[in-house]
């Protein structure tokens, strides 16, 4: 791989808006320097940081939800979570989705329907690890263990235990796709509820403002 290709790959880590403003200058500096591991780490970490700085609330929230799902998958693969813990784990997602709806209406003055859409998009981003698992399973790279509702393995796989799906039925990778509607539709509704809540909270405040 040539140095220029490597530099342009590193710059891809930065958001497009940032690249158009500073990317050329950073590329010049990188092209003139010898790459050391610490320089690469520095550029990579700062790129990720800029991604978060330039990201919208729903993107950050979606990334956090994806990380949350990864943590759950790892924990569940090491030792299957009991049913109650499994349920509590996903209830955190509901709070996050409700919060997105609330924030978009209260801080960004978006209508509740738009806020609900952002919440749905965040939830879709959040289940990417599960969708990735479905793809890897489809191409026979991974065979996950599928747990029954009681937490006992129903289908024995290797290394990884699917976290979203608990069933006694025999399933195919396509079954994991059910995660999309099961996640996105409630997220939309929760986002709508959060947005409506924000609007109903701010309405009396505005009234008080006019009375004064």
């Amino acid at each position: 791989m040539s140095k220029n290709t490597f530099v342009s790959l590193l710059l891809r880590l930065y958001p497009r808006a940032w690249r158009s403003e500073y990317g050329g200058e950073l590329a010049v500096i990188l092209a003139d320097r010898q790459f050391t591991p610490s320089i690469i780490v520095d550029v990579v970490l700062c790129g990720i940081r800029q991604r978060f700085r330039y990201a919208e609330v729903w993107q950050v929230d979606g990334a956090v939800l994806a990380l949350w799902l990864l943590i759950g998958t790892v924990a569940n693969s090491i030792s299957p979570l009991p049913r109650s813990a499994y349920n509590h784990f996903f209830q955190i997602n509901w709070i996050a989705e409700l919060a997105i709806g609330y924030i978009y209406v209260s801080h960004y003055s978006r209508p509740p329907a738009a806020a609900a859409l952002f919440s749905a998009k965040a939830s879709l981003l959040g289940i990417i690890p599960e969708l990735l698992l479905a793809v890897l399973w489809t191409v026979n790279l991974i065979h996950p263990t599928i747990l029954g509702m009681d937490g006992v393995p129903h289908v024995h796989g290797h290394l990884i235990t699917d976290f979203c799906l608990r069933t006694e039925a025999t399933v195919s990778p396509a079954t994991l796709m059910i995660a999309i509607p099961v996640t996105v539709i409630p997220a939309f509704l929760l986002g709508l509820a959060g947005g409506t809540l924000a609007r109903s909270v701010s309405a009396p405040c505005r009234r008080f403002g006019t009375i004064k």
């Binding site: 970490l45 700062c46 800029q50």
Partner: protein, 104 residues
Amino acid sequence: MARKLTTGPFSDPELLILSSLVEGRKHGYAMMVDIKAFADVDLGPGTLYSAITRLVEMGWIEPCEASGRQRPYQLTTYGLQHLQSQLEKMRHLANLGLRRLREI
């Protein structure tokens, strides 16, 4: 090392960049060289441009007309005031710390 930031005032890339720009406009590479010379700190390119981004957003520095492949930056009046106030605070803290050390 790309980034040899110790604790204390030299651990703040923004302050180092502002101090570097006091003597005139500079582009990114010139800032790195200057900061290495006066503070013995190797700012990584990512750290440098992250700090430049924040400083531009705060209105403390501004880009000038590009010269060649690099674009120089210069301090704004607001940035100069901010640097002055930060350095005054540091001087106050340093004086206070030194006075207390002498009293031991």
